[in-house]
């Protein structure tokens, strides 16, 4: 994206939410286990295309890229993830409720 037309730089900053920090931690730990490298993460982020930049936050894109790599490496299957996500959604309506079994 270097050199592309773009508007003003927003300098608002926020402290990362707990789930965002956990995504970051999982990416680092999965790499430390040799499951994939940062390049594979970047590849998936790039393949999402420019519209993902508009519609998804930074860590939303990261968790999607983490998932893609773990599926590619056979750590779990797509339906394993799907079933788990469904069960998690039943636990509660907020992150705090759903994150604790």
């Amino acid at each position: 994206m270097g050199g592309a037309e773009s508007g003003a730089i927003s300098r608002d900053e926020h402290d990362f939410a707990f789930w965002e920090k956990r995504v970051d931690a999982l990416v680092i730990l999965a790499q430390a286990r040799g499951l994939f490298t940062v390049d594979a993460l970047r590849r998936v982020l790039e393949d999402m295309g420019p519209e993902a930049f508009e519609t998804m936050s930074y860590y939303e894109r990261w968790v999607a890229a983490l998932n893609q790599n773990l599926v590619e490496r056979g750590v779990y299957t797509v339906s394993e993830l799907g079933a788990r996500m469904e069960r998690i959604a039943e636990r509660g309506v907020t992150y705090g409720e759903a994150a604790d079994e």
């Binding site: 994206m1 270097g2 050199g3 592309a4 037309e5 773009s6 508007g7 003003a8 730089i9 927003s10 300098r11 608002d12 900053e13 926020h14 402290d15 990362f16 939410a17 707990f18 789930w19 965002e20 920090k21 956990r22 995504v23 970051d24 931690a25 999982l26 680092i28 730990l29 999965a30 286990r33 499951l35 970047r42 982020l45 930049f53 998804m56 936050s57 930074y58 860590y59 939303e60 968790v63 999607a64 983490l66 998932n67 773990l70 750590v75 779990y76 394993e80 993830l81 788990r84 996500m85 998690i88 959604a89 509660g92 309506v93 907020t94 992150y95 705090g96 409720e97 759903a98 994150a99």
Partner: protein, 218 residues
Amino acid sequence: MPHDHSHEMSPSGHPYRTDDDVPLSYWQQMEIAIREILIEKGVTSAAEIAAQVEAMDARGPANGAALVARAWSDGEFRALLMRDAGAACAQMGFDIGTLKLIALENTENVHNVVVCTLCSCYPRNLLGLPPDWYKSRAYRSRTVREPRRVLAEFGVELGDDVEIRVHDSTADMRYIVIPRRPEGTAGLSRPELAALVGRDAMIGTGLARVPGAAPPGG
């Protein structure tokens, strides 16, 4: 830091992004699911994840500032930092892991600024997590084309006699800018010097503070 987020401002003075007072999102569900599966399969553990988050919270730009302050006051160390930044970090007792680091020294004639146009590479071990703007499309696309306008937005105006050198962190190296030591700092101790060195000065979108001057806005 446990998950008892207050809904006020954080210690760094920025608003917390809410976790618990908005509906659970699809991507949050995915994070919880991946985390639980990885723990069940023994890829990692809850304790390891917690330790990683804790380490993240503990990190800020302090190590980078200490590095700069020492480079300002110790000529031999400065030479080592410029020659082999990894060895200089080791000498300070900073663990930078597998990170390959290059120090870029600002001079009277050259001002360095760092960007990663391909993603958001950043020397986290020395500066903490990158600010939102560093990861933004606007910063990443504009800094390589119009660095002077970008720096002006950050309040840094450079004369036409100064060369701006943009560093696109495209592959395996990470960069830290060593800002120029401000005038009037001859008698200061190393911690006092470090207090003049903010995060943005080490990215190149800021300068070191002059003692007694108000910190830049933002």
